[in-house]
Amino acid sequence: MEKILEVKDLQLSFHTFAGEVKAIRGVNFDLLKGETLAIVGESGSGKSVTTKAIMRLLPESSSEFKSGEILFNGKDLTKLTDKEMQKIRGKDISMIFQDPMTSLNPTMTIGRQITEPLLKHQKVGKTEAKKIAVDLLRMVGMPKPELRIKQYPHQFSGGQRQRIVIAIALACNPQILIADEPTTALDVTIQAQILELMKDLQKKIDTSIIFITHDLGVVANVADRVAVMYGGRIVEMGTVDEIFYNPQHPYTWGLLSSMPSLDTAEEKLYAIPGTPPDLLDPPKGDAFALRSEYALAIDMEQAPPVFQVSDTHFASTWLLHPDAPKVEPPLSIIERMKKFPGSRYYEGVRTNG
């Protein structure tokens, strides 16, 4: 499938009073046309910074772009002038955040806020823009859109505001939508509606979505592919089935095991011990080694390279090295692997081919 975005060896730091925070330490991924790529990982792992770097929304005074390329339709976004970037932002690539109020202006009617990008990026007149705004609101499921475009953000509920933000983000039919924890603050039933809405709209306008979340249930629901981030790097990446049913990195094992499953009554939840690494002084080897019962001696010395598990599945763990000892994943992970034809625990019938 066609690559719409390629992030290559992205390295990025912040300069703070305490020193250099090495927030992104070599991130690589592609985004394909029409797909949803979920990025998961604990807070501080670098999910937001990665996407803000794509949008060039990081504070210029304190952030330092150290290396890498961000190719959007072959164009390197890191090389564009601010003016060129402004043309792309909100038109070709748009972004929605956890708190809809970070994107909404409380003193402006939502009608004006939806028409603004249209007037700016698309050569439409005012009446036409207003018509599109009403259509967009209807599309995101807002009742009585003709009346509601005259209202202000505070007159809407949290879920409705997120719908409005989605309407604004989609106003110019962007090629990429970046959603940073868009449903984290919402109730499950509202979350379910927003996720259904996003999937619906994606089909309609064939946009690619980068969906950031720490909720693995949401990932299983929306993602085609998943990137697992830890300590400023992607430690594992694969299709949604590969990540949930054949995970290879001990950090992914830990994340999946710490969610209680609804059908088993474990006595004790698995909890990943310790806390994420300090990015002021990141460990020189595998950043997860200090929290991992599977760590090998080499993990303390040298960061693991990327090992290929399948055409679509990659993981950065020394456990995949041919000379590494064979370890047994946690029981709950083996249960998952039993469902995956490519795994060594598969219990179904293998078909050839």
């Binding site: 604990e42 807070s43 949290g158 109730d187 499950v188 039933t189 509202i190 979350q191 379910a192 996720l195 259904e196 720490h214 909720d215 693995l216 249930g217 949401v218 990932v219 299983a220 629901n221 949604v240 089935d241 949930f244 049913y245 830990g254 994340l255 999946l256 710490s258 969610m259 209680p260 499953s261 609804l262 009554a265 474990e266 004790k268 939840l269 698995y270 909890a271 990943i272 011990p273 806390t275 469902k339």
Partner: protein, 313 residues
Amino acid sequence: MAEKLLEIKNLKQYFNQGKANEVRAVDDISFDIYRGETLGLVGESGCGKSTTGRSIIRLYDATAGEVKFNGVSVHGKKSKSDLKIFNRKMQMIFQDPYASLNPRMKVLDIIAEGLDIHGLTKSSKERKDRVHELLETVGLNKEHANRYPHEFSGGQRQRLGIARALAVEPEFIIADEPISALDVSIQAQVVNLLKELQEEKGLTYLFIAHDLSMVKYISDRIGVMYFGKLVELAPAEELYNNPLHPYTQSLLSAIPLPDPNYERTRVRKSYDPTSHNYEDGEEIAMREVTPGHFVFCSAREFESLKLTSAARV
């Protein structure tokens, strides 16, 4: 038979009563909490979970109703000394540990606050030793006593909140969304800690949450609230396996699980409150459909729920 630690009867908490903007945040709910159990309380934001907790612990004066703790009514007029004892027995932990910890106070003084109020330690050495012990109980260490809240991560702050609540040796803890702001792996650490403490100290919890998978894991029984009413109350397993109120069914059907195959086939039910078609004068009340499984329903609904439940067995 389990012993009732709390009895909540016809509790009501109305805000702006009698005015145009009256909110019936808690509207006539009754339930018991047994000694040593965890009762989970779930429902969407604004349905009245926090207000229920706050009314029980008397942060608000209830509009109506009764709360009994160990058989003694704790609402209404009380002497100062009675209140003080009662305040010690019940403690609360909050969602945002940061907002609930005074940023200018050292951890030592934050945790010792309850000890000081209730005069529980006799010397400054005893006070310090007790705080060190509490820090270790919650998985921190005594070096942390001299630091300020901003020097801690979210999960560590929640541990501080728990240590502060434990300081006065309560019997009952209301945990209001204590893990909602934390990462999955840190949530598991805090939940495990709460469970361990419960076993060690025989604590009783009211655990308020909107994350339904963690609630099932930690709770013995679960109550579901909808617009100020308790609509269903059942043992945790039973509630998930056999939800009877259509609102509970819709809530459970909306939870995404970390299982792509399940997600591809999950069908979401929506809840329409008018679907009950209640007639004027019909009494809607909590009724026990199977032992321990209560549903807020009419007599008519009750009969049909009993029939379908009997057919299931």
